[in-house]
């Protein structure tokens, strides 16, 4: 009962032009007899999911398939809510404004995207010059459905990402986007969902532009939040008492910051987690911490803080170009062995967390990265939840995304085999109720594909 002929045609086209193609759109699709992992409720070993007009119309066991629905035989397949990358640059083309190429990012967990050569910023002489501040930039205005990494993401079963602009210390306003659409605006589900903060370290601390050090970055972030408080207070007082007061100046940067429903703070190592938990509390804004590779030392503290956590899927490894004579210290070795166990420990402790791609852009690597966490102790169900409902809830989109429930956006992924197993393939991806053919070629290891091997992305991961 597959509408196989359409798929075959699509495959041919997809193979030739490598652009995601979308099947002809039926108004309703019924997925029958599939193993349905709803995430929010019980698994249905043989269930039906009915999609109509971009939404999940019905999910259950004994559901009548309407006459107008196209039917997909799901036997032998598993349906999950579409996976969500909880901190991403997917959808923002590399031609969009990026961090200045001559300013190395020493920032800890960053999401590296190809840097485009742009004019360096004028030299900042202090916080007043608002260095590297793009708090007003909107991912929603930058995303493009033809961005090159989207197809690979879909091939890995991702339908959605919390995408953030990628330059500066205050990176701008992120958006929850669907990884498909005709125009950028079709992709946006919720925006703004937050403000990502990245610490950018300059060379050595001598000369150049403020800030160069980690403490300079922290001081700057702290100052901008003080400025925001003052700005709000000034506006309030002025509105109440315009006579005798000078009018507060409109401030583009602070308006962007004011609009951020939450901030994302980088914290990879244990002391960075301590630092950012107390910094976030000091700033008195809702916050999320991201990175978390050494969180195995701070599970209790994270639980106690009650702060949502984003775990990078770029597991730490020995640097590729390391001096062979150089020995790694105990802590580095421990981090390389223990980091993949973090998700399991967070799940066990009941800390709300989600995964993010952190520059892992190809489908085979994404699958392996999640598998590594499963092998290190997280249950598949918890891993799936982290990749779906948790991610949606962290950004306040749990009412429309992240589970297979009546009324939610019809973002689904169907696999043959359980998700993230070596032999498993992604067979169907639905975004806003439309089917996308996940590229089988992109699901293979880069070396086994019919295309030149891509260079590894080397994220500059300095001290944060």
């Amino acid at each position: 009962m597959r509408y196989g002929s359409i798929n075959a045609a699509v495959l041919t086209i997809a193979a030739t032009c490598a652009v995601a193609m979308q099947a002809e759109v039926p108004s309703a699709i019924a997925i029958k007899d599939a193993h349905v992992v709803t995430v929010s409720g019980a698994d249905l070993p043989r269930g039906t999911v009915l999609l109509r007009d971009g939404l999940i119309e019905e999910v259950g066991v004994n559901i009548a398939v309407p006459a107008d629905a196209w039917v997909i035989d799901g036997s032998g397949l598993t349906v999950y809510p579409g996976f969500i990358d909880a901190l991403s640059t997917w959808g923002i083309p590399s031609g969009a404004p990026q961090a200045s190429a001559n300013r190395p990012t020493g920032g800890a967990p960053t999401t590296p995207a190809p840097a485009a050569q742009t004019q360096p910023e004028p030299r900042a002489h202090g916080p007043e010059d608002r260095p590297q501040t793009y708090s007003f930039e909107r991912a929603a205005d930058l995303v493009n459905p033809s961005e090159s990494r989207i197809e690979a993401a879909r091939a890995a079963g991702f339908t959605t990402s919390a995408t953030f602009p990628n330059r500066g210390i205050f990176e701008g306003l992120g958006a929850m986007i669907d990884l498909a659409g005709t125009r950028g605006r079709d992709m946006v589900v919720v925006q703004p969902v937050g403000q990502q903060i990245v610490f950018r370290l300059g060379p050595s601390g001598f000369g150049r532009t403020f800030p160069t050090s980690l403490m300079g970055n922290i001081a700057y972030v702290r100052q901008l939040f003080l400025d925001l408080n003052q700005y709000r207070q000034a506006k309030q007082i002025y509105d109440a008492h315009p006579g005798g007061n000078r009018r507060p100046e409109y401030d583009h940067d602070l308006e962007g910051l004011a609009e951020s429903p939450r901030i994302l703070l980088p914290a990879d190592e244990a002391q960075q987690i301590d630092r950012m938990l107390s910094f976030g509390q000091e700033l008195k804004v809702p916050f999320v911490v991201y990175g978390m590779h050494e969180a195995y030392r701070r599970i209790d503290e994270l639980k106690q803080a009650g702060v949502p956590v984003l775990v990078s899927l770029k597991w730490p490894e020995k640097p590729k170009n390391a001096d062979p004579a150089e020995q790694q210290d105990y802590r580095q070795l421990e981090m390389q062995t223990q980091a993949p166990a973090v998700p399991g420990m967070l799940a066990k402790a009941g800390v709300k967390f989600a995964f993010y791609s952190d520059g892992v852009d190809n489908a085979a690597d994404l699958k392996k990265a999640v598998k590594k966490a499963i092998d290190a102790g997280i249950s598949r169900a918890d891993a799936i939840k982290a990749l779906t409902l948790n991610a949606a809830e962290i950004y306040g989109a749990g009412d429309r995304l992240g589970s297979i429930e009546k009324g939610k956006i019809a973002n689904l992924v169907m696999t043959k085999g359980e998700a993230f197993e070596d032999k498993t393939t992604v067979e169907y991806v639905f975004i806003d109720g439309k089917e996308f053919e996940p590229s089988k070629d992109l699901q293979k290891e880069p070396a086994n594909r019919g295309e030149p091997k891509q260079p590894a992305i080397s994220g500059d991961r300095g001290a944060n």
Binding site: N102, H125, G126, P127, L201, P203, S204, G205, F206, G207, R208, T209, F210, P211, T212, S213, L214, M215, G216, N217, I218, A219, Q223, L226, D227, Q230, Q233, A234, I237, Y238, A240, H241, G244, N245, P248, E269, A270, Q271, D274, R275, F279, R297, I299, D300, E317, K318, P324, A325, E326, Q327, D329, Y330, R331, L333, E334, Q336, T337, Q338, G462, A463
Partner: protein, 459 residues
Amino acid sequence: MRRLAAFSLIAVATALAASSQSILIRNATVLTVTKGSIQNGSVLIENGKIAAIGKNVSAPADATVVDATGRYLMPGIIDCHSHTAIEGGINEGSVSDSSMVNIKDVINPYDINIYRALAGGLTVSNVLHGSANAIGGQTVVIKLRWGKTAQEMLFDGAKPGIKFALGENPKRQGYPQESFFTQGQVVERRYPGTRMGVEEVIRESFTEAKNYQAEWKDYENRVERGEHPIPPRKDLRLDPLVEVLEGKRYVHAHCYRADEILMLLRVANEMGFKIRTLQHVLEGYKVAKEIAAHGAGASTFSDWWSYKIEAYDATPYNAAIMARKGVVVSLNSDSDELQRHLNLEAAKVMRYGGLSETEALAMVTINPAKQLGIDETVGSIEVGKSADLVLFDKHPLDNFSKVEKVWIDGHQYFDREKDLETRPAFEQKKKALEEKLKPAAQRPARGQGGSNPTAEAIQ
């Protein structure tokens, strides 16, 4: 409490500041520094404090007894000038006045140099911003509670400081440079380029700070009068300078030449604040009287100079001369290496300047404590003070002496024997991790570089 029970770092990290257990250190030569020495003396530690000192000290039956026969017990060593345990750069050198940055924000409690310093008897460090700019960042005093978090290492009650720097380092930024630091690019100059400019930066910043202070006072007055003024902008750069003016924050000023030392004292007098310590202060011997008159302390090197032009006119008698002229003098490390043997630095002032043993030891204990305003609780072995103690196998001023045990607040943070004992097990654990990672990195390890003895090693 934390997950991996196997990693005993955790065991240290969860125990809180003071150990409630009683410890009796018996039969040592107790070098109290402030109250003379006691042969065959004992020290009783209770609740993290020194409870009794003397020849005959009675201890509760359940006290842990440390037999220190033939050993020497001295107060924990204090370093008034350190850059250890700072993460992400010790300088915010991009601006002439970086007083908005704070070392407290970036303490890295996992820095192995903390543990290595402990192994040399160091218990307290004044962690300073670098000297790239005339007014550097805010500084913090820590206790080397290895295994604890950054927050738990802070010296409770120690007054915060701010770093100043005079001379070559801050003015070097004024040269257009193409160097290692700038990755081959010629970068725009940063003011100042002269010693005059350094002076001007300090005067300018404090002028601004006074205006800022006045602006806030004016605002508060207007609020009190029932008006509705818009508050001034809170400025993280000027706040600490106002604290300096109000005596709530110490100034630690890096300096070398006599003329610039006098310049700084004049500017401080003019602006109405005090210099708490002059750091390095190699030409201090020339202006010791003026330093003493201002009430500034001097924290210098024992015998290190000639590493740059402004450090040539120096003498190892500097510390002794300043001390004799009434200046409170300490010897500092400014180095991850030197901080491990400050006791030997102290010994040098006996050779150069003929100071007594006690005067020498004071320069790495009670004197830096006085300079940091923490001499009420640390810096000597006195009843009621924190039990920050170091047990040496020989006299600490002996070149061949080694640290055997170190206590901070009565909690033992270093034990030489245990460290050596646990090294093989630690190596095993490390090997096991390496084995686990083998498929990822197949190449055989070359060289036998020393591994880092971490807290795992001492537990």
